[in-house]
């Protein structure tokens, strides 16, 4: 039984291998880029906007609101990264409604790549906000003893992000495969609907966790300023 779409290989030469994961990922990327390009070709700002523009505006506004609720005050800075993650994972998990489609998020290589992006984006946004020194100081909060634990937590949460998404999607694909050999008539459809729900929830979880991690790195310096201000106010 094929556990992941990595095992379906179309073409390989040396260490370059074209497998089903790569093909599906590039297909989804092309679909998203071309779709967004087509929709944003003629944007209007009066009250007669097209249906597609309305849909995109709803998505962007919704993601902005969610980022804002987690605690990042300027969602425009972060929606480029977090919104892309969310929409990509949603698209990957959504097309399981098509027959013979294997979601590329059911392969550990895709989810590891996404988790590594989150791992690298945390210092990027942290340094952008408060400089290298300010970001490195977040590692020794609250005391110096916490330094190794902070580093371990940074690594382990990246691993957890990757394995969580992979495990959820892979288990959905696997359960459908097993059920097809036991009760092929009706039950797999129900499990597929459940897999659709799981996929959407996991996409939400993935992006909201990325937002929480970025917010934790960005807010350390802001919090300190606030504390000092509050202390000044109380002493005054």
């Amino acid at each position: 039984m094929n556990m992941t779409p990595d095992q379906t290989i179309f073409w390989s030469h040396g260490f370059v291998t074209i497998n089903l994961t790569l093909v599906t990922t590039w297909g989804i990327m092309l679909f998203m880029v071309i779709g967004a390009k087509l929709i944003t070709r003629n944007l209007r700002s009066n009250n007669k906007i097209s249906r597609w523009q309305c849909m995109l505006e709803m998505i962007v506004t919704g993601i902005n609101e969610q980022i804002n609720e987690v605690g990042l005050a300027k969602p425009e800075l972060y929606i480029g990264f977090i919104g892309t993650l969310f929409l990509f994972v949603v698209m990957c998990n959504f097309w399981i409604i098509l027959p013979w489609y294997v979601p590329p998020t059911g392969s550990l290589s895709t989810t590891t790549a996404l988790a590594l992006c989150v791992f690298l984006s945390v210092p990027y946004f942290g340094i952008q906000k408060s400089g290298i020194g300010g970001y490195l100081k977040t590692y020794i909060q609250p005391t110096f003893i916490m330094l190794p634990f902070n580093i371990i937590s940074e690594l382990s949460r990246t691993l957890a992000l990757a394995v969580r998404l992979f495990g959820n999607i892979m288990s959905g694909v696997m359960i459908i495969g097993i059920l097809l050999s036991i009760t092929p008539l009706f039950i797999p459809i129900v499990m597929k609907a459940l897999g659709l729900l799981t996929g959407m929830v996991q996409a939400y979880i993935f992006s909201i966790l990325a937002t929480v991690y970025i917010a934790a790195a960005v807010q350390e310096s802001v919090k300190k300023d606030k504390k000092i201000k509050q202390q000044n106010q109380t002493t005054n």
Binding site: M1, M3, E69, A160, V163, G167
Partner: protein
């Protein structure tokens, strides 16, 4: 009992135990967290969006422990390194 049989028996029994025990405790804790979230939504319906979001994140965290166990047992059954080593000999 030769080495192949011992490895097969150990992997299959361990895979079953891993998923069994690894689903039991996350299920208990998920039930507990959902029950608490429901009662707090009933007390304060205004805070429902915040509670729901936190609940979803927490549920995903709890469920990921069960998923880790599932992944380990899937590796034991379908991609067992020890079994592959014995087969390759």
């Amino acid at each position: 009992m030769d080495k192949d049989t011992a490895i097969a028996i150990a992997s299959i029994i361990t895979a079953g135990l891993t998923t069994g025990i690894g689903c039991m405790f996350p299920a208990l804790s998920e039930g507990k967290s959902v029950a608490t979230a429901l009662s707090s939504i009933a007390q304060q319906p205004d805070a429902a969006p915040t509670i729901t979001r936190t609940l979803f994140v927490g549920l995903a965290m709890i469920e990921s422990t069960a998923i880790y166990c599932f992944v380990v047992s899937m590796i034991l059954i379908f991609a067992n390194p020890f079994w592959n080593h014995v087969i390759a000999k």
